[in-house]
Symmetry: C2
Subunit: 639 residues, 2 copies
């Protein structure tokens, strides 16, 4: 036995191991967080640690420069422990915090999507209105002739004001009651929840209190978590923020996380990772930006894929990934956020967007709702490019869904310089066909590129292909100032040299990255084709294609067609609708009728299992080419 | 400033204080638990600490022998800090634990009262039956052709078995679901709660599980806490136990505790004291004796006076003690025990016996129900001798209640050798009129007396009076081997000399004790008379008098009449009904109809405020004599 010491953020964690043990696995065993989105296959280069003493059997990979290797940097996933060893682990929690972004909602662009969602939903005849509100009432103080207890006194006042038949008090409200009544002269602001003829008093506040009755919306993605703080009484977005999913240390994909969740204590570990490292910090930041305590958040709505909502609830999730793929629930209405230690108002309910199967979850039912697909006669397609790809095809008469394993490439995963669509990401690019010099735009104020997000990767591959720098298989044709080959013959295009940017590494894209992305876009395209074929249709029937997901608002539809990701139809038919899971969950939080409609969509939506669909695998293989092995499918793409 | 160090159970707590500060007050400020039932008035002698170093200005009181004083024992309530000081504090928590008593329920006597309560309630046409039960169902396992999610599969099975329209799952049940279904081949035992057409699944257990669906009954007294563990499906009592109320360190009476609760953080301190030091240990002990974990307790019913149930809930209680005496609630139905950190099943509800005013609480509504007073045509009186005295007078047509400040004497408080009716207590006594030698019986197996419980004190005073050893004012007439006078002329009768028992102190009763007890019995008697007078009646109308409370089952009704505590009517009219608050709460837990009946009694019961009733004070003063200043009221008592 040897001893491994992990130095993390000033503290140290020690664990025993056998000679030859994998360092990443040992870290996971010791519950030391190392960012490992590719699950330890050596592909992503993100699980770096710094060797301080001892010996590791660790090859220099393409992710580590000679200089870095000399400094002690190693990829933990390819490192074997050879004796007692001490390594420094970059602090993943602070990395996450630094990745957290609170949006500037004074910019109209940030809120445009929610205003549009709201307008479209109202246009469809669905009311925006929910059962949470505040109400100020005044009572006569008790006297020796009027000794009614406090809760009955307030009950009478609320019944007079609302006509409610029954008034109940949450424990939290009961605790506040006696003191607040007396401190504010028996005039109080109550936060109430209506349930038919009854109302439930969630909070008793002084009459002068004007803080919003806040609600929380969360899009829980496998990679990223986005959230809104909303005024439940007006529907106004108060704050908007995003961060990484803290579960990522247990693997980038849902499968690895489910495996981890099946281990002793694993369900709790994964639950805590996302709640304590992602959702709670987001809520704290958003509440701080608005100046309210987190227990002023009275309701939460969350949309996430089936695995994400199971892991959020700490459920045993192995049945979700094992044949016959059985989730614990599709609909689940009765959970309080306090059961999950969310630290919101102790009686805040959790509304979960319903799942329809193991591979089509609440993110899709909420997103499909937000796309408004279900409200049109014309046939349309909804594509959500998350860590997996999910599609819904249909109209106001039917809805059919499917899921494909696109992998995390659209969100920058499995791509060496990939990143989410956030500050410093290259989100669009062109290449000069003569000089092969790139021009790009960056998200945010960054002066230099940090990496490439999904929309940027589409542009780069389309431009490399259009300029003839790569061929239909995604291979580089020849060397150039910006194109280089390593000892194995693997080509790479450098977008930004570190000498020019002052960064540690070049920002580049290599053939492995391109190959990963081609497989991802091939999965989406073949899923589209298989679903249409199953109905005896082809892409020409599509009146509208809604593209959603973390790929970035900069997505260039023409380029997405060029690389054969989206079908070759009129570009006017495409719309990017952003994070539709978040906007759908926003509608579910703020509108009872929207919530009912999402539940109805979920009940009626059918599911097409691609893996058992004849022709899907062939279709996928044929689509793993730029734009496609059948050029007739892409008449507009001329090389 | 000086420094006080408290050594408690091996750890030490330090606090700064001013010279001259009271040691007990400093301990309370430092949250160091010192038993102080008399609230620091030097009367009870129970707040002893041992001086290890430094200087205290502390007189030797009658509670500390010379030998003890020399050893360093001091009463903290009469000690002033004169410089840096270190004292050892007897561990109150372990004192409490050692006071905890789990009853031997194999003894029929222990359960007699609950069986009788149940029989009487059933005889009154009230059904014993509640909404909690267990149910075993078998399902077909999922297949690729039958991919219903787990919660829907179980919902179908439960609907088929019960006809319920809607099935919901608690978070706890949902968490267990996937694993238990698969580990027990889709045959499971569900613990369900029925609510009209709906059922709520609280637990999903393997089919072979046979543990009882347990419920908890608590009588929360100011001084003592008694509890039952019950099988919700059969009503059988599984375990019975009692302990002290952990709040006692903040004062023996409700007033001092309310004052403490109004201080910064006081509400939480009092709540934690009773939950963490009394109720949770009781539940743990009882569950251990039955061999089930505490989260197999699915429901809790509690009866306690208004202040006790307010402090249990951590409510701001100053309005309860301040004119116009307003509680936060009479009825309160919507509390989960998890909000109080009871550590039962996380979704276990709390049923509280309703209050009817600040001074007549759930212990009386539950107790009155258990007395069956409300089911008879004849006029009867119910007297609960707790830390306060409460009375209900009436029949099946009306109920009138009142409360009097009897003080804690009936439970042994304010009596120098007083104790609760538990092991080692003298519970009955006679005195030889010739020799003045006592004969007594002890509770339990104790070889020597530890102190005197309420029923013992009644006997002693009655016998001292009957033998002419004390006069009608409770003063000793002359010296004797067993009667001595101190330097102030205060007489004392020694029941057991320490030389005979080997104890540290004599067991005795002195004039202060007798005076305290006379005031307590005077309060009860004058309350009885005032209530009867208010209706133009006298004791002759009483068909039955039910005496309840912690005074002990050994209460001698003849002696209680002799000292003028109970009205001088035929002794056949009296019944001791034990802890009626506990048996009433037992009925509320196990029978929905009983719970509804208690609520109905509470709504219809009127309250007579004695303090504003003409003649009450005169009546009280007249009753502070043995048996009474008006001997005509006690014709049977001949001296």
């Amino acid at each position: 036995m040897v001893s491994i010491t992990f130095m993390v953020n000033g503290s140290q964690v020690q664990i025993s191991a056998n000679v030859g043990d994998n360092l990443l696995a040992a870290a996971q065993r010791a519950n030391v967080a190392i960012d490992a989105p590719c699950s330890g296959n050596g592909a992503c280069g993100k699980c770096r640690v710094k060797l301080l003493s001892g010996e590791l059997d660790s090859p220099r990979t393409r992710h580590i420069s000679d200089e870095e290797y000399a400094q002690g940097w190693r990829l933990s996933c390819v490192s074997k422990v050879m004796g007692d060893v001490t390594v420094e682990v970059p602090d993943i929690a602070s990395a996450y915090r630094s990745r957290m972004k609170v949006a500037d909602i004074s910019s109209p662009k940030e809120l445009e999507i929610f205003n549009r969602t709201k307008a479209q939903i109202e246009a469809a005849g669905i009311e925006f209105g929910n059962d949470l509100s505040s109400l100020t009432v005044k009572m006569d103080p008790p006297t020796t002739d009027d000794t009614m207890p406090d809760n009955e006194r307030l009950t009478w006042a609320l019944q007079a004001a609302t006509g409610a038949e029954r008034v109940r008090f949450t424990y939290h409200a009961l605790r506040a009651l006696a003191r607040v009544l007396r401190e504010s002269d028996f005039e109080v602001r109550c936060v109430i929840e209506r349930e038919g003829d009854a109302i439930s008093v969630m909070d008793v506040l002084p009459a002068g209190d004007t803080a919003p009755v806040a609600g929380l919306v969360v899009d829980l993605g496998t990679t990223s978590v986005a959230a809104l703080l909303v005024d439940m009484e007006t529907g106004a977005v108060l704050s908007k923020a995003s961060t990484g999913n803290g579960q990522i240390r247990y693997g980038a994909d849902v499968i690895n996380r489910i495996i981890e969740s099946g281990r002793e204590g694993g369900g709790e570990r994964l639950q805590r990772a996302v709640i304590e490292e992602s959702i709670r910090p987001l809520v704290q930041q958003m509440c701080a930006s608005v100046g309210i305590p987190t227990r002023r958040v009275y309701r939460m709505a969350l949309a996430g894929n089936t695995t994400m909502n199971h892991l959020l609830l700490g459920l045993y999730s192995e049945p979700v990934r094992m044949e016959p793929y059985i989730p614990s629930f599709f609909h689940c209405d009765d959970i309080r956020t306090s059961s999950l230690h969310m630290h919101l108002h102790p009686d805040a309910r959790l509304i979960l967007a319903p799942n329809i199967g193991s591979y089509v979850g609440g993110d899709i039912t909420a997103g499909c709702f937000a796309s408004m697909l279900w409200n049109k006669e014309e046939l349309s397609l909804f594509i959500d490019l998350g860590t997996n790809g999910e599609l819904v095809f249909g109209n106001n008469e039917f809805l059919m869904s499917c899921a494909c394993s696109a992998g995390p490439a659209f969100e920058g995963g499995d791509i060496s310089c990939g990143m989410r669509a956030t500050d410093g990401a290259i989100d669009s690019m062109t290449i000069d066909p003569q000089t092969w010099e790139p021009s790009y735009t960056l998200i945010g104020d960054a002066a230099q590129p940090v990496g490439i997000c999904g929309s940027g990767i589409i542009d780069i591959i389309a431009e490399l292909f259009r300029c003839g720098i790569i061929n239909g298989k995604g291979k580089f044709n020849r060397e150039h100032k910006r194109v280089r080959f390593d000892e194995h013959g693997m080509g790479e295009y450098v977008i930004a040299f570190k000498e020019d940017t002052g960064a540690v590494r070049d920002v580049s894209i290599n053939e492995v990255d391109i190959d990963n992305f081609i497989r991802a876009k091939g999965a989406i395209f073949s899923a589209t084709m298989t679903m249409l074929s199953s109905m005896g249709m082809d892409p020409s029937v599509l009146e509208h294609v809604y593209v959603a997901g973390g790929i970035g608002s900069g997505i260039n539809m023409k380029n997405a067609v060029t690389i054969g990701m989206l079908p070759d139809i009129d570009l006017d038919h495409f719309s990017y609708i952003g994070n539709s899971s978040l906007s759908g969950a926003y509608a579910m939080l703020t509108s009872v009728q929207s919530r009912e409609k999402v539940d109805e969509l979920a009940r009626t939506m059918t599911y097409l299992e691609l893996s058992t669909e004849p022709g899907y695998m062939d279709s996928f293989v044929a689509a793993c080419f730029l734009p496609h092995t059948d050029a007739n499918l892409f008449p507009s793409v001329s090389i």
